[in-house]
């Protein structure tokens, strides 16, 4: 109970810090960077639900991000639609395309799924890049409007944009929390740990995989749409493979398959990238090996490593309190890897 209370205080403190941040540090540049990081976090949460909780590594995520961004951009700029309707439509369009892609993509598994989605992502990029008459090709799309006013509230200045996107991020985290702790979330994890076993238990794996895929693309689309209205200029580059690699780095540094992972990872990596600005194109010299080392030594990222450390500590305490109990409880990570190993061998 005390632990629960402490956790709640910690989370409220963190949210408070995020809300107060612009008032404490009045620096437009930091504000911009942080807002952008929030947008990435939303996208990473979508990826996390699919790759982390269900075990399907989709490399088309950047493509769906771009679809969301372009849907909003085209609806507002070319069709002249109201921003809020366009935002909702952009998310729906992305999930709709996600549904269609998922129907086919989810018939494949493991490596085939990764390669299939990689190709889908590349097709999306190529279509955006080559379809000059619709998307503007390499020139991109200019003049996307900021969110329209709600009554007296305007979203024109950076400060209001910051709160606007923070609200969406908090909403995303809340939805993720609810999903992960619901029966549906458990179903996803069952599929990750062993698809055959889940099927034996009577879980319709295809239906659930499709659901998680659509959800994941929904968040990618939402992040893309927010990105478009925040930056106000989009080019085909946002659908390129490098973006999915960035998202993967954020997710892995933070911790794949953990709720706090996307926030921790994105924040850290974006922050470090900012301080390594002089490296620019060469930042992958650091992040590439980092990604590889993390997956070898800390496959569940910073958050996962923290949980493991905590679990070991409480386990030690418990054993000291009751010396007669010899066998330590298996940790979550251990059960996961052993079952996954079985799947691989089987």
């Amino acid at each position: 109970m005390a632990a629960l209370l402490r956790k709640r205080v910690f989370i409220i403190g963190l949210i408070g810090l995020a809300v107060l941040f612009p008032l404490i540090i009045q620096n437009e540049y930091f504000l911009h960077v942080l807002t952008l990081a929030f947008i990435w976090m939303i996208a990473v949460y979508g990826l996390n639900l699919l790759a982390g909780y269900t075990g399907y590594l989709s490399l088309a995520h950047a493509g769906f991000f771009a679809i969301g961004a372009y849907a909003l951009g085209l609806l507002t700029v070319k069709a002249g639609m109201n921003y809020w309707i366009a935002l909702v439509l952009a998310c729906l369009i992305t999930s709709g395309i996600g549904f269609l892609v998922g129907l086919v993509a989810l018939r494949t598994r493991e490596h085939f799924f990764a390669i299939y989605t990689l190709c889908v992502g590349y097709i999306i990029y190529l279509v955006i890049d080559k379809w000059d008459s619709l998307t503007g090709g390499v020139r991109g799309l200019i003049g996307i409007p900021a969110p329209a006013n709600i009554g007296p509230v305007s979203f024109e200045n950076p400060l209001s944009q910051y709160y606007f996107i923070l609200a969406f991020l908090l909403l995303t985290i809340l939805v993720m929390y609810r999903i992960v702790h619901s029966l549906t979330g458990r179903t996803f994890m069952a599929i990750r740990n062993s698809e055959e076993l889940a099927q034996t238990l009577g879980i319709s794996t295809m239906k659930n995989k499709l659901l998680v895929f659509v959800l994941s693309t929904f968040f990618a689309g939402l992040a893309g749409a927010l990105y478009a209205s925040f930056i106000r200029f989009i080019g085909p580059d946002i659908g390129y493979i490098t973006i999915i690699f960035d998202l993967l780095t954020y997710l892995l540094v933070g911790g794949i398959g953990t709720l706090a992972g996307p926030v921790v990872g994105t924040f850290l990596v974006v922050w470090v990238s900012q301080s390594l600005q002089f490296l620019q194109d060469y930042r992958m010299l650091i992040f590439g090996p980092l990604l590889t080392l993390l997956i070898i030594f800390y496959p569940r990222g910073i958050v996962g490593a923290f949980y493991e450390w905590k679990m070991k500590r409480t386990g030690k305490k418990r054993r000291q309190a009751r010396p007669d109990r010899r066998k330590p409880e298996p940790t979550y990570a251990a059960t996961q890897t052993s079952s996954e190993k079985k799947v691989k061998e089987g």
Partner: protein, 287 residues
């Protein structure tokens, strides 16, 4: 008719390069079940190393290729020892991510060393020749001959030599190979060496007709994945046949359909194939 034969020859050339790259990829997949996303980076490095040895030290084209094949092959071995060996028992998603990490690192490294500019490689075989009514450069003929020669050599190596047989044994059954006394670690290293060497050779041959730049491996590796899915993951004849199928469909598609969208053909092909056969065209159950 003239255009058709010319395009067919072009398809053969592109297909030869694709087949070589796909062969390296399929070898590694067949033995270790790793989809090596970093293979494209090896291809790119192969082209750069050939280019540098030719420009800096003025080596002969063939000597430069030999050096490049050796260096990239050793790099492949290093990759296996440092990364993939550590992940032998990890869940499959980890291999993929590690490979992506290596890819990002190698690309950034190439950009740091050689810059982001597009470069062209000169070749001693630039002359134009007429052959059966076709006008082609010597380099293109060389690509075809070289690629086919290497494929035959590889085939003989795998089928007729003892070391080659160990590779096939391991691809058929890892535990079984281990039981009869094959050193699986050594075979894995050898496979990575072969795979890197093939990538470097393909890149060095094709670089004079294309350009050399840090992102040159992207499209090639994606297409190589398409090919090995087309031909069955881990199947060697499949990689060769798949490579030529893709080469022909691309060169014909570029002429008769649309040059802008020619790169999409490969991916559409893959998407269609996987839609109907989720495990690839010639999948072998319980490989």
């Amino acid at each position: 008719m003239d255009i058709l034969t010319q395009q067919l020859f072009n398809g053969l050339t592109i297909g030869s390069v694709y087949s070589l790259v796909a062969l390296g990829l399929t070898l590694v997949y067949g033995i270790l079940h790793i989809p090596n996303f970093a293979h494209g980076a090896l291809y790119m490095l192969g082209a750069y190393i050939t280019l540098t040895t030719m420009l800096l030290w003025g080596f002969n084209y063939w000597v430069a290729i030999a050096i490049s094949v050796l260096v990239v092959g050793l790099l492949g071995v290093l990759m296996d020892r440092l990364v993939f060996h550590q992940l032998r028992n990890a869940p499959p998603i980890h291999d993929k991510i590690a490979a992506i990490g290596i890819l990002l690192f190698l690309e950034a490294l190439a950009q740091l060393i050689w810059g982001a500019d597009y470069r062209s490689m000169s070749t001693p075989y630039g002359e134009v020749i007429n052959m059966f009514g076709l006008t082609v450069t010597m380099q293109r003929v060389l690509i075809n001959v070289g690629a086919i020669a290497v494929m035959i050599l590889l085939f003989v190596f795998l089928k007729k030599t003892y070391i080659g047989a160990t590779i096939i044994a391991m691809a058929q059954n890892r535990e079984g190979a281990h039981l009869v006394g094959i050193n699986t670690n050594k075979v894995a290293m050898l496979t990575f060496m072969l795979s890197g060497g093939l990538a470097a050779f393909a890149a060095s041959l094709s670089a004079p007709i294309n350009l050399v730049f840090p992102g040159m491996g992207h499209l090639v590796i994606l297409k190589a994945f398409v090919i090995i899915i087309l031909g069955g993951m881990g199947s060697i004849p499949g990689a060769i046949v798949g490579g030529y199928i893709l080469g022909f469909s691309e060169s014909l598609g570029a002429t008769y359909l649309s040059n802008d969208y020619k790169d999409i053909i490969a991916f559409l092909l893959l998407v269609i194939i996987l839609s109907f056969k989720p495990k690839g065209l010639f999948s072998r159950e319980g490989f």
